[in-house]
Symmetry: C2
Subunit: 260 residues, 2 copies
C-alpha cells in the first residue's frame, strides 16, 4: 500500500475536531487546519505539521487530500474559494450535501462518518460507518484507504443513497433525541429524576444492535392496551405537544402491529 496521503483539514467543529484527532492518531500528516474561528483552531494546533489558519488563501495547494468538514451550507462556498493543485482530491464530510457542491475541483469525493460527535465525548472510531464516494478510481481508493485506517465499516454509496441514509440518521438520532427531551421535561415538570429513564434508553438502543426493531417493539400500543393509552392521554391533558405525539405514535404502532 502507498504511503499515507497528507491531508489538509477545513473545519474545526465537532466533526473536524474528532477527525483531526483520529487521523493524527492513525499516523496521518495533517499539514494545515483551517477554520474561520481562531478559538476553534487553538486546541487543534498540535495536530498539524505546518499550522492552523483562519484564511483559506493561506492553505498550501499541494496536499494529497483536502477534507472539508464545515457546516453544510458553507461547503460550496469554501470549496469555491479553495485553490489546490489539479491532482489534489477534495472531499466533504456531509451526509446530505451532494458531491456536485465540490464541482470547481477536478477530483471530488465524499468522506462521511455516520455518527453524532460531541465536543467533550470521545468516539470509538473502529465501528463508525464511513460512507465514501469519488469521481475517479484512484480518488476512491485513497478515500477508502483513509477510511479503512479509522474504521472497519466502509461503504461506497451514491449521492442519492447517502441522502437516504442521512434521512434515516435524522430519524434515529434527531427525532429519538427530541422524544427523549420531551420525556426529560415531563419528569422535570413532576420533580422526578431523569436517571429513572437513562438505563431504559440505553437498553432500547442496545436491543436493536442485535434484534430487528420490529421484534423489539413492546408497550401499551403494541399490545393494543387502550386502557393504559387512555390513562396516559388524560395525564397529558396539559402537555398538548406530547399528547398529540403520544396519540399519533400509539395509533401508528397499533396499525403497524395490526392491533387497532
Amino acid at each position: 500500500m502507498a504511503a499515507l496521503p497528507n491531508i489538509t483539514l477545513l473545519g474545526a467543529g465537532n466533526v473536524g475536531t474528532h477527525l483531526a484527532r483520529a487521523l493524527h492518531q492513525a499516523g496521518y500528516t495533517i499539514r494545515q487546519i483551517y477554520s474561520r474561528r481562531p478559538q476553534s483552531l487553538a486546541p487543534l494546533s498540535h495536530f498539524c505539521q505546518i499550522g492552523t489558519s483562519t484564511r483559506l488563501e493561506e492553505l498550501l495547494p499541494d496536499s494529497d487530500l483536502y477534507l472539508i468538514a464545515v457546516a453544510d451550507d458553507a461547503i460550496a462556498s469554501v470549496a469555491a474559494q479553495l485553490r489546490v493543485a489539479s491532482t489534489a482530491i477534495v472531499a466533504h464530510t456531509s451526509g446530505s450535501v451532494p458531491a456536485t457542491a465540490l464541482i470547481p475541483h477536478l477530483r471530488r469525493g465524499i468522506f462521511y462518518p455516520l455518527q453524532t460527535f460531541s465536543a467533550q465525548k470521545a468516539i470509538e472510531w473502529a465501528h463508525i460507518p464511513i460512507i465514501i464516494q469519488a469521481n475517479d478510481t484512484a480518488a476512491e481508493q485513497l478515500l477508502r484507504q483513509t477510511a479503512t485506517t479509522l474504521s472497519s465499516k466502509v461503504y461506497e454509496l451514491t449521492d442519492e443513497q447517502r441522502q437516504l441514509v442521512h434521512l434515516g440518521a435524522v430519524v434515529v438520532n434527531n427525532f429519538t433525541n427530541y422524544l427523549i427531551s420531551l420525556a426529560y421535561d415531563w419528569l422535570q415538570q413532576h420533580q422526578l429524576p431523569f436517571d429513572l429513564l437513562q438505563p431504559l434508553i440505553l437498553e432500547t438502543a442496545q436491543k436493536v444492535q442485535t434484534q430487528n426493531p420490529h421484534h423489539a417493539q413492546t408497550g401499551p400500543a403494541r399490545r393494543g392496551d387502550h386502557a393504559t393509552i387512555e390513562r396516559h392521554l388524560s395525564l397529558l391533558q396539559h402537555n398538548p405537544d406530547l399528547r398529540d405525539l403520544y396519540s399519533q405514535l400509539s395509533h401508528l404502532i397499533m396499525q403497524q402491529n395490526k392491533v387497532l
Copy 2:
C-alpha cells in the same frame, strides 16, 4: 438485617424469567413459580425450591413475598384468586397498574423494575431503577431490602408518580423503538443495510447518559435548515406515515429551539 424473605413468583414471561434468575442468583429462596403456560415454566424449574405450577390453588400460602409478574390486565384477577396468609406481602411488577389492583390482600406493594426485558438478552441489574411502594412500613422495608440486593437504584414512589414515570418510559422506549423500526424499513426499502445506523443509535442513547438531551439535539431541524428538510420530505413522498412524522417532529424541534 433479617434473613432473606422467601418468595413465590407468579408469571414466567420476560419480567418473571429475569426476576427468577436474578433473585435466585442473589441467594433468595424462590419456593414456587406459577404460570398458566407450562412451556414457560419448564426453563425455570431449577430456580424453585418446591416446584412450578400452572394452578394458582397449588401455591402454598406461607411465603413472605408473592411477586406478581403477569400481564397488566391479568394482575387483578390473579391477585383475587391468590390465597395467602394475612402476614404475606403481595406485590406486582407493573409500571401502570395501581396498587389497588391487589386490594383483596392486606399487605400490598409494588416492585417495578424499570427496564425492557428480552427473552434472550441478559440484563445488568446493578443499575436498573427499581420502583417500590407499600402500604405498611415493614412491607416497604422488605421490598426495599429485596430491591437493594439486585440494584443500587431503588426509588419509593406513589402510584401516581410511577404512572408518570411509566408514561416517560413509553416515550423513550416504545416510541423511539417505533421510529427506529421506520428507519429500518426505509433502509430495507432501498436495499441499504441497517448496520449503517446501529452505531448512531447506540451513541444517541449513550450521549444522554451524561448530557441533558436538550444540549444533545442536532440535525437539520435544530439548525433551522429548511433546504435539507424539504429535500427529505420530497424523498418521502411515497412514505406518508414517515413523511407526516418527519414534518411534524421537525416543526416541533424548530419550535423547541426557536429556529422557526
